[in-house]
């Protein structure tokens, strides 16, 4: 083991792998002192706020989906919600249910992708899922089964996994037939054993021991674990309405990032599965609470690596809630799925919990229904500052423990990865 006092440390991870988008980690330690410790975002901006300008509000969900290849269902639904709030549209109940079911499929797909394809290689000491295909085929098999279900659920409920087409302002373009919903329910039930196996695998992995007191921001559920719309809450005791999102995010520019950063009560805050879990624990499905208790994950957790565990708990939540919702939907009248409305001038905000955290879209429209101003605040954009500050605590701690450069680099990358960043999204 090399002591930090003997050898300087110079880490430069260019374009960190197994995350979406382009970000760099730079760490320097000389004479036992941190000379550099930076989470740098170098993604090229697409200027979505400008792309929206001048388009009809009906185009918003379609274009918003393109912000992100992974969470495009969330983006389409957030844009639809912002438009519907601007135009005072009451979305029919069937459409609301299908939207939430599609969102659950996306959450499952995204969390399983992250846990098995992006995170698991770190714990098995390999570079990717590719060697795992031959070394631990059963692990890949579990992920394949669960994602296979989630992908087919998205295909049926949203049109496809990435860039869905059925979500339109006012509701949906169509609803699946009852027979298709029954088949989906059967398939979901067949996949529950794989969910249990997934839990067994992650129960056996111990997350790095690290804590930093953090403010967590998410939606606040009323009577169910929140995903679409509602009040905004912070674990430091702040509560606001959906329309006040700007006061909840306080975006600002920094030189080391093409994504904006955010803050609230402290220098930074965190969003995502752990924030939702910490702020809405009591509203989780009983099966999800059971798992949380089993793996020792408690609300009020401040270890960022527990984002991974909170995602696992949410996988259980969305699978069991989907089962209940599908059963209910099969027995209900699904004929009304689109509200009629008239376009007028207005302004609306939509807030929604995307897989990586709370997401906001905001549109101002003129009396012809053209978008005159758009704003998007992305979950990973809200996490960047927190990742940066976490690194500032993690790296000196590891150095003080006498960890070698390679281990510090690996742990720093694992920290970034725990947030499941979606960097292109954050820059948009």
């Amino acid at each position: 083991m090399t002591n930090i006092l003997e050898k300087p440390i110079d880490i430069h991870v260019e374009h960190i792998a197994r995350v979406e988008g382009h970000g760099n980690i730079k760490i320097g330690i000389e004479d036992g002192k941190l000379t550099e410790c930076t989470w740098e975002v170098v993604e090229t901006p697409r200027f979505f706020e400008m792309m929206f300008k001048g388009l009809s509000i009906e185009m918003a969900p379609l274009l918003a989906a393109r912000v992100c290849g992974i969470c495009s269902i969330s983006h389409a639904l957030t844009a639809a919600r912002a438009a519907e709030r601007a135009l005072n549209i009451q979305v029919p109940e069937t459409a609301q249910k299908i939207r939430l079911l599609a969102k659950h499929a996306e959450t499952l797909q995204s969390h399983v992708l992250h846990l098995f394809f992006l995170v698991a290689p770190d714990f098995l000491n390999v570079g990717s899922v590719i060697p795992i295909l031959s070394s631990h085929p059963h692990i890949v098999q579990i992920a394949t089964q669960l994602k296979g279900y989630a992908n087919r659920a998205s295909d049926l409920l949203a049109g496809r996994t990435s860039h869905p087409m059925v979500f339109k302002v006012g509701g949906l373009t169509q609803v699946p037939r009852k027979r298709q919903l029954k088949n989906l329910l059967n398939e979901l039930e067949e996949n529950i054993p794989y969910l249990e196996q997934a839990i067994e695998i992650f129960k056996g992995l111990s997350m790095p021991d690290f804590e930093r007191e953090t403010e967590f921001v998410s939606l606040k559920g009323q009577d169910r674990y929140p995903f679409i719309g509602g009040d905004l809450v912070s674990s430091d005791g702040i509560r606001m309405g959906e329309d006040e999102y700007q006061a909840m995010t306080n975006e600002y520019m920094v030189d080391i990032s093409t994504s904006k950063w955010c803050k609230l009560s402290r220098d930074s805050f965190a969003v995502g599965a752990l924030a939702r879990f910490n702020n809405n624990y009591e509203l989780l499905h009983p099966k999800a609470i059971e798992l949380a208790e089993e793996i020792g994950l408690k609300p009020g957790s401040h270890n960022p690596f527990f984002h991974n565990l909170a995602q696992l708990v949410e996988c259980v939540h969305v699978v069991y809630e989907s089962k209940d919702m599908l059963t209910e939907l099969i027995d209900s009248d699904t004929s009304a799925f689109m509200a009629s409305y008239e376009v007028h001038a207005g302004e609306g905000v939509g807030a929604l919990e995307a897989p990586r955290g709370i997401l906001y879209h905001h549109f101002q429209i003129d009396d012809e229904g053209k978008i005159v101003k758009a704003n998007c605040v992305i979950p990973t954009g809200q996490n960047h500052a927190n990742i940066h500050h976490d690194l500032h605590k993690l790296v000196p701690e590891l150095a003080a423990q006498g960890e070698i450069e390679a281990e510090i680099s690996k742990r720093a990358q694992m920290l970034v990865r725990a947030y499941d960043p979606c960097i292109s999204c954050s820059v948009h």
């Binding site: 197994r18 001048g54 570079g127």
Partner: protein, 257 residues
């Protein structure tokens, strides 16, 4: 892999992302059912989205996204210099895609709108073929995994992948779908290259042209029919310009800022 007792070398492939959403690379990683098959046929040298292992000794490069900065131009040129075959994947790489919607506005106004006076490097939106020679284009927003696998099979055995030369309507009729025009929905299907299995019209959305123009499309008659059917100029402009698929077709109304 052996053929007639001769060991065959697997083609060495790499995946790269530029200005885009990485949704096309995700399609390749996402349908795990056939991932093992794909990895049996090619050797993945570099795929940052899912792998920390990196090796620049690739022969085939799959490139997603548009080019918007000088840094990206340099990176793409390096990839081109290394790759024997360069494949553009997705609407952003093949057409400019939705990125082009911001080209309606001057660049300084665009930066100002999003970043205020903060300094940010950006430039015009370019498809890959405006910067380097592209060997094959795999269109779509996003690409389809099945079509990607089809293209890989062709490239491996050295056969030129020929995209369908008929419009989306053909596939829509093969699926016995009701024409969305009869539901009052506009559709670019008659002038757009097939290969998507008419996925958007099938979901009652109508086509937006993400796969680019079909050969020998009759735009004049098509636009005339849209007008006859009562679609407003703005609606036509929004749909036809959404993916920048028909740029240069002068009968298509321009999308205003």
């Amino acid at each position: 892999m052996k053929y007639l007792g001769i060991p065959l070398e697997k083609p060495k492939v790499a995946f790269f992302g530029f200005t885009g959403c990485e949704g096309c690379q995700l399609q390749i990683a996402n349908k795990e059912e056939t991932l093992a098959d794909l990895l049996g046929a090619v050797e993945v040298m570099s795929f940052r989205l899912i792998s920390s292992d990196k090796d620049d000794g690739y022969d085939i490069a799959f490139v997603e996204g548009s080019i918007t900065t000088e840094g990206e131009v340099e990176r793409l040129k390096k990839i081109r210099a290394q790759a024997k075959i360069l494949v553009a994947i997705g609407a952003c790489a093949c057409l400019g895609g939705v990125n082009n919607l911001r080209s309606r506005f001057p660049l300084d106004e665009t930066i100002q709108e999003v970043y205020g006076n903060h300094v940010i490097e950006s430039g015009p939106v370019r498809k890959l073929s405006e910067v380097v020679t592209v060997d094959y284009e795999l269109p779509g927003c996003p690409i389809s995994k099945a079509e990607f696998e089809w293209l890989v099979r062709h490239v491996i055995v050295g056969v030129i992948p020929q995209l369908p030369q008929y419009p989306v309507c053909v596939e829509c009729k093969q699926r016995i779908k009701t024409c969305v025009f009869d539901m009052g929905i506009m559709c670019m299907g008659p002038v757009t290259r097939a290969g998507c299995n008419a996925i958007c019209p099938s979901n009652h959305m109508g086509c937006w042209g993400c796969r680019g123009a079909v050969d020998e499309a009759n735009f004049e008659s098509f636009i005339e029919i849209l007008r006859e059917r009562g679609f407003a100029e703005r609606e036509i402009a929004e749909r036809a310009n959404f993916f920048n698929a028909f740029s240069g077709v002068d009968v298509i109304p321009q999308l205003e800022g």
